[in-house]
Symmetry: C2
DNA sequence: TCAATTTATTTGATATATCAATGTTTGACA
DNA sequence: TGTCAAACATTGATATATCAAATAAATTGA
């Protein structure tokens, strides 16, 4: 029994890392110079244009500091622009450039295919159960 | 259906991060200045004293470069010593110090408790299914 | 035996994670 | 209205991840 408790966290770690490496490699092979994390951030802005960096962090499950630095790189890559926020000067208005929009669309296709590949042969009810169990773990860790 | 495929990877990411943050916090509160990753590496050496860094990396699912740097820190913290390997001069003999052994033992207790807390209320058969599904994902990503 | 290949580790460069500290700006409220 | 706590973002320090390149030792094969 103890064995299983040990293995499950190992497997979780391995699964997420394997998927990320696979996904990143597919992107690289398709010729895109963007990381999954960077893509997630741009996508979050497109889906909710007035989002704050804090909210972006919650959505992508990232630390504020990480979000700031990912956005630094996205600005440098000219996928994003930083502007002053209209009503709250503590905040930053994040504008997705045309180049940014283009790449998000292209990458989206690769990501959808990646997910399909990764979940091939797995029953939807099983996926649902995995989701349920993982959420229970998340809940248990919020003491 | 597409929704679920999206959510499952998000949940995996969130679950592993939440667990790691929880585990690390428990260690900190217990007064130990060591990371989970560092602990994993020392434990791997104790379980298999003649292990190579490459094998350690495979076991803890880490890149060689990461293993080298984690070991750097463990040597600096005096939990490990590097020596010349007896038969293969490319390799490094890794010696766990007494301090290293002590901390692994203490941390072990905290980790076991963490796992128990994280898996509270989850049926072993469910854990087994999650493990099975995650392994299938790992397999699918090894194209 | 010598050259070519493979193996083990290290190092450099860049990206992300985490905690703590700092700097502004807002908003609440005495 | 002036003060103070909360909110938002950045920065610094350190740890880890990833890829590529470099180094050095071992192995293979002609």
């Amino acid at each position: 029994m103890e064995k299983l408790n040990e293995i499950i966290f190992y497997t979780m770690d391995k699964a997420i890392k394997t998927y990320r490496m696979f996904a990143q490699q597919q992107l690289r092979e398709a010729g895109y110079k963007i990381t999954i994390d960077q893509w997630l951030i741009i996508k979050g802005i497109l889906e909710n244009p007035d989002i704050s960096q804090l909210e972006l962090g919650e959505k992508a499950f990232k630390d504020n500091a990480s979000v700031t630095r990912i956005i630094d790189l996205l600005v440098k890559a000219e996928y994003l622009e930083r502007q002053f926020h209209d009503t709250d000067r503590r905040r930053v208005k994040l504008i997705v450039t045309q180049t940014g929009m283009d790449i998000v669309g292209h990458v989206q296709k690769v990501v959808l295919q990646n997910r399909k590949t990764a979940l091939d042969g797995i029953d939807p009810t099983e996926i649902e159960l995995v989701n349920k169990v993982l959420n229970k773990i998340i809940q248990n860790c919020h003491i």
